[in-house]
Symmetry: C2
Subunit: 491 residues, 2 copies
């Protein structure tokens, strides 16, 4: 496959960060530090530019872009809006390939003069063959190129492509999904989308061999037809999840003052997604859950019968059953034969084997119980909390005196719990859905929520922070597969 024209933008060999503040600490904002932390300077050339500073952490600092060594592929602009047009001229003179404007204060302000400045800059850049990301955005996070726009981002590459009009939301999606175990191929926050915009990135993602799942946070669709066509091309071949902000009256007003985006209707946007084979998330949490589902075993669930095991006592099981039912799934009774088999080793008092399963079999019979449940007729998936517990002699992770030991023990426990789920699915063919509640009760149980999410994801097991969210996600996946009929099977 020939290289996509945008591909080099995600893999620059030299980056210049144009800072302006003179205070030592903030001379280059967080971008320079994030790139250093990501180790970009070990892969490519990283040039800090600031006329007021000579060096930063022992690295030479250049007074202007024009003073940096050739070539510079990518420029990150943190200059104030008033200085941006001058930087554009320098970029053209320097023959850079792309510029990312963190700089805000253009079209999104609603001020026509500022919008005109934005248009002029973009026209100049385009004429010179330079592509722009932004203005008013966070730009690129590409683990394989060691690009990052915030500190603390993982450098482990994954198969999820994220495009987000909002920088804050890009940061939040990356942060939360990383905590769920997800890793990214490429992330781009593109703000006002004055040059490169949603359809450009969807087109790129559709052909990117590193990407299997595409997710987008969008506020305004700037060219409806181009967007729809690109979405169709992308969603045909990649699992594509879209969250559109500004679909209500209040949200539309907010989107307008945020990225200058105009109104849209939920019904129309829903229809566009369905027709193209993408799935629409209604909230940020749904986006998180659907990305987890699309990149794990959850996407392979085909029925609605849930076996619910473990995770918090009878009252919890009752409310969980209610939640499952409300989301269009069911918690069917166990067949008599399965009940009989379990009753051979599970006593009657204080236990239920009728689904929800609320029982503590002897340690050595736990696997037997799980297999009986997963294989029972009418069961299409198993919802289960982490069942693995250290034996009484080992003691719980909480018993570890030292913080590091404790967190190591928690990680091990999470891995064992995740491997148990993987083994159960492999042996029975029934998909397993991990449930791990956060909050005080989870902490009491000595389970680190995040360790478990990470471990489950590595085993290909989709895990969710509540039964209600898991059930809702499964229901959406079933619906998604239904309306994709006729399209290639990718879900």
């Amino acid at each position: 496959m020939p290289e996509h024209p945008l591909d080099p933008i995600f893999h620059p060999r030299a980056v210049a960060v144009i800072g302006v503040r003179s205070s030592r600490k903030d001379a280059f904002g967080s971008f320079y530090q994030s790139l250093r932390e990501a180790g970009y300077h070990e892969l490519g050339n990283l040039y800090p530019v600031n006329p007021k500073v000579d060096e930063i952490d022992g690295v030479k600092c250049y007074p202007s872009l024009l003073d940096t060594p050739d070539p510079v592929d990518h420029v990150i602009s943190q200059v104030p809006a008033a200085v941006a047009p001058q930087l554009v001229d320098q970029c053209i003179a320097k023959k850079v390939r792309s510029i990312h404007f963190f700089t805000a204060g253009f079209g999104e302000t609603g001020d026509e003069r500022l919008a005109a400045v934005e248009r002029e800059m973009i026209a100049k850049l385009r004429a010179a063959g330079i592509r722009a990301i932004g203005p008013n955005c966070m730009g690129l996070y590409v683990p394989s190129s060691r690009l990052a726009f915030m500190e603390g981002f993982s450098m482990e590459p994954g198969n999820v492509f994220l495009l987000s009009q909002s920088g804050a939301n890009a940061g939040e999606i990356v942060g939360e999904l990383t905590g769920r175990g997800v890793r990214f191929s490429k992330v781009v926050s593109y703000g006002n989308g004055a040059d490169l915009r949603a359809h450009d990135f969807l087109d790129y993602a559709a052909t990117d061999p590193e990407t299997d799942v595409v997710t987008a946070y969008i506020e305004g669709v700037q060219e409806g037809r181009a967007f729809y066509e690109a979405l169709k091309r992308c969603a045909r071949v990649k699992r594509t999840i879209i969250l559109k902000g500004g679909l209500t009256q209040s949200g539309t007003r907010a989107a307008h003052s945020h990225t200058g985006s105009l109104a849209g209707s939920a019904a129309i946007f829903d229809a566009v997604c369905r027709q193209s084979g993408a799935i629409r998330a209604e909230t940020m949490e749904e986006l998180h859950d659907l990305v987890v589902a699309a990149s794990t075993n959850t996407r392979r669930i085909t029925g609605r019968g849930v076996a619910l095991i473990g995770g918090g006592g009878g009252g919890f099981a009752v409310l969980s059953s209610d939640a499952i039912d409300r989301e269009g799934l069911t918690v069917p009774r166990m067949p008599a034969e399965a009940v009989r088999q379990m009753r051979e080793f599970i006593p009657v008092a204080g236990s239920s084997v009728n689904n929800p399963i609320d029982a503590n079999p002897p340690e050595e019979r736990m696997e037997d119980m799980l297999r009986i449940v997963a294989r029972a007729e009418g069961i299409d998936m198993v919802f289960m909390g982490p069942m693995y517990r250290p034996s009484r002699n080992q003691g719980s992770p909480d018993a570890q005196p030292d913080r590091e030991e404790r967190s190591k023990a928690q990680e091990e426990m999470a891995q064992k719990a995740a491997r148990q789920m993987r083994a159960l699915e492999d042996e029975t063919g029934t998909p397993v859905v991990g449930i791990v509640r956060s909050g005080r009760m989870a902490r009491r149980m000595g389970m680190s929520t995040e360790s478990f999410f990470e471990a489950a994801y590595k085993e290909g097991i989709g895990a969710y922070p509540s039964v209600a969210r898991a059930a809702r996600t499964v229901n959406q996946v079933l619906e998604w597969r239904r309306y994709r009929e006729g399209l290639p099977e990718i879900v």
Copy 2:
């Protein structure tokens, strides 16, 4: 007011815990340890009973209930179901006032012989004037009496009464709400409700002077008429929030095997709540949020116009506006005059003052901005994240090297943020709703979610873990007040 007949049950002067296991560690299960930790033995007489153990932590242990000194008011039974009838005879001989059966394995199993044993025991106890809590439950948590059924429960008394058929849900509600700042007057987990049941506790709560807010988790209503009448009496004078488990098909099946409870319909239960002036929570999260609302300023909100300030950048503001709109509230534009006033000290680039407010005014003008927003026409409440930030010189709590220092700094920051909200409400008369998101992004901001919840609650400010949940709660409160018309004004 004469003492309610159940009142002495919540204030026993002597408690016997009947354990049976012979392993040193678990000789008395967690109840004895929880009572010790709560300091019950400093207020009343605490007698451990176990024929297999001579003493526990230096305290004399009695071979049987009949060997304990007189009088014993309250007995906690952890004996196996088979031995329970014998303990009942001893309770009658000992003339105790009440017995709490943690013991399970009776009516809830669905086994008619075991249900008959339960009925016989209760009949015997009743004939002797002894009241029973349970079987199959966790019993009492009463801070003012130093009673607790789990370790780690707060001994600070509050004004919320909780009755819960499920012990696990009682524990979860206490744990989660304590983390939200709520404190309890009395909590009772009553399981199968073989003797004392929902209507008894509702009747008690209605007249309890220590209780302002009543909340209940119920699986089955055993005597419909008595329940409805008690609910009416209670909800008339106390803010009453009910979560009914088992309202769906799957949930009903689960409730039946949990506490032997029978089906109910959501529509009927909803009507019962509305007619009695109580409010129905549909999920555990709704129960948490409604208890917070009912015991803070949220219950005094009268309109639907939200000013949304701070807490996470433009994209977050757009999605939050969508969420507010979906829950039946609105995010109206700021009046021109308010915008003009704010623009005097807030620059145009990278800020929005049109609501949602996304602006960073100079530190010394922050209060001015907040007041302009809260007083603006069309604004009935302010949704805001913790705005208080330590000045640059002070550094953020995260900068504190030592763990204890850091957590102290976080607490102080949370208190200052909460006081800022209280002051804004006091000065402008506009209710303030606190929003504090948990998860990775909140941790990045150096805010301890729990510290902020606690601090806000102490200032009488209702705080919620997301904009969507806050908006939903406000909408429910408005609706609740509407259908309570004609009843005493307590919401």
